[in-house]
Amino acid sequence: MTLELAPPIFGNWIWPALQFFLQAAAILGFTALTVGFLVAAFRYGPVAGGDLTYRMLRTGVRDLLALSPQRVLALAWLAIQESLRRRVLVGFGVFLLILLFAGWFLDSKTNDPATLYLSFVLTATTYLVLLMALFLSAFSLPADIKNHTIYTIVTKPVRPGEIVLGRILGFSAIGTVLLAVMGLFSYVFVVRVLNHNHEVELVSLKTATGDTTGTRTGRTTASQNHRHQITIDAEGKGSTDIVQGHYHDVDQQTDGDKTTYVIGPPQDLLTARVPQYGSLRFKDRNGQGIERGISVGNEWKYRSFVEGGTPAAAIWTFQDITPERYPEGVPIEMTIRVFRSYKGDIEKGILGSLVLKNPRTGRSSRMETFRAKEFTIDSRNIPRKLADTDGNPIDLFDDLVADGELEVWLQCIDSSQYFGVAPADFYLRAADASFAGNFVKSYLGIWVQMLLVTSFGVMFSTFLSGAVAMMATLAAVVLGFFTKFVFDVAQGAVEGGGPIESLIRLVNQRNVTVQMEPGLTRDAVEGADAVFMFFMKSVSSLLPDFRQFSNVDYVAHGFDIPLDTLGVQMFSGLGYVVAVCAIGYYFLRTREMAR
């Protein structure tokens, strides 16, 4: 799994985030008041305008203090009744249909079915729930205003903030129930679809020539487009190899003269790894320390490369390596990318080596070679008892770990070939969390996204008509999913210029690397683009980055979602909801309901 940014640590994140939020709220609030005063002063004069602004502020504080939970809950209940009347459950029906026919359009021959199916159910759930939230939230209030049913509410002692909050709460409650049911069905679907079994092909079972240990090898029958090679020891215990990210245990059972082989359910198919990451540094081809490896010309700078056949190495340093934490040795997992400067034997992986080193004494383990497996996780276990470079027995914790620190050196052996690595490509598999629990955690991310869409929909609907509010919310969501790209364009980091220049290039089919001819046209276009890009930057800075709330990658690739990440997502989402509620309150407060 790619991890471009290290997961935040909640305790380090919360206080600066809170400070930033309060500062942003103060600046935006002051700006809004200033603009409001200027508009009022223009319409009614400075004194009347000032009085109006002051009364608006005073009423806002009073309304906040007079917020009634019972009124909010009553309005939330009304929103729920309205959602049910609007047949929101049809969305759930559509989801069931999609699950039912998923097998028709999902690739059954994939090498990683768990990733495919998990990505599918989580993505389908996300899109359906967000769509449902969008339609419910954007049309509700405008419909009330158009039908005048809002008259009987605003002529009661109901604050505008209660109307906004009640609707957000009500629609979120419906979304939560839908998510829970969809999650349950998704979980059952994934588990059932991925569950499979094999049988041992008895004719394939044989003992290797010259083998005295009694070990037999063979293969299984094919099931779900794959089969395994099996190894059974003399005592009748064994396992299969890892295919499509899983293996099975094999058990020989003897009942009198009859011997049967039982292959267990798939193991390691649905996992929630808890990785321990280390810091990464490099050595260049001369053995000198450098910050990053070399570039092989990829645009995406996530990985850098280590040259084969040289002293170049990627070195990970891990902390807190203790016998208590790793009583049976250290399980490692790595995902190596390979860059071939020549084709070579494409069937064979590129040869690499792993060495463990004591960061203080420099004592090393014996080099262990391996063939790089691209696009798959290579799992190994480093036992406690090892040998050093001279063949002497050493203990992992006594000889190679210093104050809990351990270094792992990765090198490429094949000359003129390269290994591409990133910090998260190599980790220690510290523990495994519950897959079911991790699955539930992933839904919390979707829940926060749903809450954000609902909040934005309600906010936009306080001053826009239903269809326009829906478009505005949709725009906010789309921009939210492409925040990074929009920000890069706004910063000028993307080739091809701003929106106007890009449009001209598109129409004229001009290459993005060719500059526009100097002149009045270019100056005008760049000037207009500067204004657009200013607004793009402002908007992309204000809108939430929806991708930061998505945990699909974690679950699909079998990694546990850190609680710190969930904490950051929850509090970030809450910050946006508070801000959006305040904006919705202001627009509803200043709106004439009878117009």
């Binding site: 009124r71 009553a74 039908n147 009987t152 002529t155 009661k156 002692p157 109901v158 004439e592």
Partner: protein
């Protein structure tokens, strides 16, 4: 009727503008009005005279272009004044997917009323408006008259001091109209203040203490109904059991005092009274049919 002013407008004006700020309609021009506690105040005028605009300004559904609207001494846009206020809109803008009990319970919750009080109050009001038999049906199945009655019930859920009724008898049959008028008078007897707008003059005449007549956004007349309707230069006498000779003598007395007899014949009842009498009679004696016209004459 006390002298405490519950509702006051000071130079209240409303101009509707388009998106660009251009004036489209001058709905209300410099309205000065006071409504005192305990009175039934009628706002009269033809369609488009500004009656509904005035009520909406007082409720805070619209904002004044200039002037002030005060309710219970507070600005009309102050939400807290709604604690003591009830409003029946021109049409019953209720949530059609709720039934009567749910509707009243919902509105009761908006007043922070405890559950037990809500339940009791909802039952009382459903009984008051005569909808016990339909309280579990969704409002979308109600007739217009039934919806109007539930609308009135929600306006009274909080036992308000001031009730604003916008065209309260609109769309009601004569029985419903009579019941609405009786209810309004009952509210007055309980010390409540009622502001009602209507273009049905007979209804207003029957219940209102004071009226204001609006036309094209301007206040044209304001005062007590009995005072405004009095025809000062005519005297009306109703007498019972007067013979033809007696009638001739009265006529002679009037002429001797330089008066002119305008009319002297049997007075007529109102169509409303006739209708109500017939309906009551029919309920008491079902099956009795009307006589042929030639027979009755």
């Amino acid at each position: 009727m006390s002298s405490e002013v519950i509702v006051e407008t000071r130079n209240l004006s409303k101009v509707y503008r388009d998106f660009w700020g251009r004036q489209k309609v001058r709905a209300l021009k410099a309205l000065d009005l006071e409504i005192r506690r305990g009175e039934i105040f009628g706002l009269l005028g033809p369609n488009g005279s500004g009656k509904t605009t005035t009520i909406k300004l007082l409720l805070g559904l619209l904002f004044p272009t200039s002037g002030q609207a005060l309710v219970f001494g507070r600005d009309a846009t102050d939400v807290s004044k709604n604690e003591r206020l009830g409003y029946l809109p021109e049409e019953s803008y209720l949530y059609r997917f709720l039934n009567a009990e749910e509707t009243l319970d919902f509105y009761g919750r908006l007043f922070d009323m405890p559950a037990a009080v809500r339940k009791r109050r909802a039952a009382e009001l459903i009984d008051l408006v005569g909808l016990n038999w339909a309280k579990r049906r969704q409002l979308k199945e109600y007739s217009k008259g039934m919806a109007r009655r539930i609308g009135l019930a929600q306006a009274l859920i909080n036992d308000p001091e001031l009730i604003m009724l916008d065209e309260p008898t609109s769309g009601l049959d004569p029985i419903g109209t009579r019941e609405m008028k009786d209810l309004i008078l009952k509210l007055k007897s309980e010390g409540k203040t009622v502001l009602m707008s209507s273009h049905l003059l007979a209804d207003v005449q029957d219940v209102c203490d004071r009226i204001a007549i609006l036309h094209q956004g301007e206040l044209k007349e304001l005062g007590r109904v009995d005072t405004l309707l009095k025809v000062r230069d005519e005297t009306a006498i109703r007498a019972k059991g007067l013979s033809a000779a007696g009638q001739a003598e009265v006529r002679a007395v009037i002429e001797r005092h330089s008066g002119t007899v305008l009319t002297m014949d049997n007075p007529t009842t109102t169509l409303e009274e006739l209708f109500l009498t017939i309906v009551r009679d029919s309920e008491a004696r079902p099956g009795r049919r009307a006589k042929q016209e030639s027979e009755s004459q």
